[in-house]
């Protein structure tokens, strides 16, 4: 997917973050020097996110979505390609500039309990990013911590400031995680499976909260999930990932209602909405399992499992991005 050729109608400004030809491979070595191969976690991804946009990256475990998140966060160095944030390449950022970038990007993790240091209370753990970024004034820190807690609707803030993570419920923990991600006033928030470890009744709350804050603050939100059913109301665009690549991307409704790529179709068919009738019918599931990222299949990564496999095409040539519908891209030879 070359840089988004589909600007949003109301969005003429420069993109906030863009990835081009992004590869993040992890080399496997033995004894420090023998190269055994590379795990191709992110293997050629292009996209552009505009200011204030909420997008979702969807895929199964091992599709590289979390590695993509970490690459965007600057926690992994891309093997090839680059990430540009507000016009500057991430690879060029060093020292102070890199640190400044870290304040621009908030990170919400999957496991809220694990994401909070268990030995710090809420006040201290929220103060940490501020201290790291040189907010020396105690009163100023306190003010921002309280504001952040209020923003994630943990109010009154006093009630939570002195608590340790284990004293909070899962939903409250995740709110604290979100507060920490927001406390440096980032322009981009990356949420990696923010609700998958929470109970059904809490999930919606957290998703609503994220969406609300994103709209209020005009943030760009990249939301990473394995669960397509949680996406509809909380993102504007979806990127479907499979084996390190984006196979399909489109505005949410278009993608959910008219999936183009066979993998997306399979994914949608596998997900049930609660309905008693589900118990009586078998679901169509593509055979096999997601490929190993160490030795991914040649050309189209999905071809060994694809019901529409075309010998000599799908296993020979990498499918380019086609645009079978308006603003709807799909990397599949079926659209040729």
């Amino acid at each position: 997917m070359s840089p988004s050729a589909v600007p949003r109608p109301d969005d003429a400004q420069a993109p906030l973050i863009a990835a081009s030809d992004l590869h993040t491979w992890f080399e496997l070595r033995q004894w420090g020097f023998l190269r055994l191969g590379a795990v191709r976690a992110v293997d050629g991804v292009d996209f552009t996110l505009a200011h204030g946009e909420a997008v979702a990256f969807v895929g199964e475990s091992g599709c590289g979505k979390s590695s993509l998140a970490r690459t965007l966060l600057g926690l992994h160095r891309p093997t090839r390609g680059e990430v540009r944030f507000a016009g500057r390449s991430l690879g060029e950022l060093k020292g102070r500039a890199l640190k400044a970038y870290r304040a621009e990007v908030g990170y919400v993790q999957q496991d809220p309990y694990g994401a909070l240091p268990p030995f710090l209370d809420v006040r201290r753990l929220l103060a940490e990013p501020l201290i790291v970024h040189g907010v020396r004034d105690r009163a100023e820190r306190e003010r921002r911590i309280r504001a952040a807690l209020e923003e994630v609707r943990l109010s009154p803030a006093e009630e939570y400031l002195g608590k340790f993570p284990h004293m909070l419920s899962g939903g409250q923990q995740q709110r604290v995680v979100i507060a920490r991600a927001l406390i440096l006033a980032p322009r981009l928030v990356i949420a990696d499976e923010p609700v998958s470890m929470l109970d059904a009744s809490v999930r919606v709350e957290i998703l609503e909260l994220l969406r609300h804050i994103q709209c209020e603050r005009g943030l760009t939100l990249a939301f990473i999930t394995h669960d397509l059913s949680t996406v509809r109301h909380y993102a504007e665009r979806i990127f479907v990932m499979y084996a390190g690549r984006v196979v399909e991307s489109a505005p949410v409704d278009d993608l959910l209602d008219h999936p183009q790529h066979p993998y997306t179709q399979a994914l949608l068919a596998a997900i049930a909405d609660p309905d008693a009738a589900n118990a009586t019918r078998l679901r169509e599931v593509p055979a096999g399992e997601p490929p190993s990222l160490l030795h991914p299949p040649a050309a189209c990564r999905f071809h060994p499992r694809c019901p529409h496999f075309m010998a000599g095409v799908c296993d020979r040539h990498d499918p380019p991005d086609f645009e079978p519908r308006r603003r709807h891209r799909s990397a599949c030879w079926l659209h040729r």
Binding site: G32, R70, L73, G74, L75, L98, K99, R102, A103, V105, Y107, Q109, Q110, D111, G114, A115, L116, P117, P118, F119, L120, D121, E128, P129, V132, H133, G162, F164, V177, R180, L184
Partner: protein
Amino acid sequence: MMGGRWGEGLRELRRYPSALMGLAIIAALVAISFYTVVAIPYSEALAQWRGGEVWQRNPVNAAPVWLDRLAGGGAPRTQVVTSAEAEVEESAFTGGRRLRIPLAFDYEAEQFPSELTLFLHARGHDQRPFVRLLWQTPDGREVPLGGYRIGAEERISLSQDRALERRLGGLVPHIGLLAEPGMTAERAAEAAPSVLPGRYTLLMDVLLFDEAARVDAELVLYGRVHGLAGTDHQRRDLSLALLWGTPVALAFGLLAAVGTTVTTLVIAAVGVWYRGWVDATIQRLTEVNMILPILPILVMVGTLYSTSIWLMLGVVVVLGIFSASIKMYRAMLLPIREAPYIEAARAYGASNARIVLRYLIPRILPVLIPTFVTLIPTFVFLEASLAVLGLGDPLLPTWGKVLNDAQSQSALYNGYYYWVVSPAVLLMLTGLGFAMLGFALDRVFNPRLRSL
């Protein structure tokens, strides 16, 4: 840092009687340490332990008083009779004066004293005074003890007077002079001689040849028991060593435990965080260090260089840095390295140092506290072992050095059990106190050990 968790842990600790016992023991040891350091300043302790004049009035190898009490009593304490309390008769003769000093005392103990010595202290003379001694027993016998021309400081050891011993029928004077009449060495072999209780007098006839001359006398009947801890072969009061041994042991144990734990922890955390060659180097250093035997190295340093306790402490800490516990800490830290909160910290830009010190290490501290507490006595024991091997600090009195002295004087062979038992009991109490607290802490802070 982490007030809540610590507070909770401490509250939890109250549930364990063993922890309270351990705490009580430790508190007692700490109290003793403070008392000692205040009551007997360091320099004074060193000076006294060097021995000599200070201990003159103490018996040799006397047992503690409480030991005698346990055995039913009867052992005499040291008795000092001075001329200051005596009724001195003074008369003049041509060319001088004559003093008649009766050093009278009641002897009621069932056992004989361990030694009999007369200390004389003369002043202001040009010509040395002359003293003639006469021993008067309660039943009216009189034993002349001979005459002496005395110097400024004279120590007349009656116990070692061979001639007197012969005159007393082969009985050592401190027995013969106090025994029932008619007792000789032969008869003593059949039935132990018994004390003739009553009022004894050592009558001193002192001839002074100068106007200004004065003589003070002190008769010391050395006892068979002394103080709370007894004395050693140099008449030194063992309570000094036992008391001063406490702060030394605690300080050594604590400093060594803190020194090794902190450095080891930081190094392990640095290795875990940076991985790669840093970690590999630390691991290899540790492996090499693990096969280095610590005791022989300490013996070598002690023999070739110095046995100062602070040098030993330094060596112990240096050798302890790359100890096997690095492997343990590493194993504990490795999973934490991957914890999401660490990743979050990286994402908001925390520096490496901050991550190591603020996020990695605090996470395992609660689990380390028990290990740390139980580590303290191992260093106390190490110091004692070194001292027993003769590598104790040359100046400081410590428990280990008491044991070392006892061993070199064959204390157990001679039946001076107290000499070995009291430092050993203190060492064991220290170990026990810290161990009980440590195990209880382990249950509190190490959730896996908790009985659900």
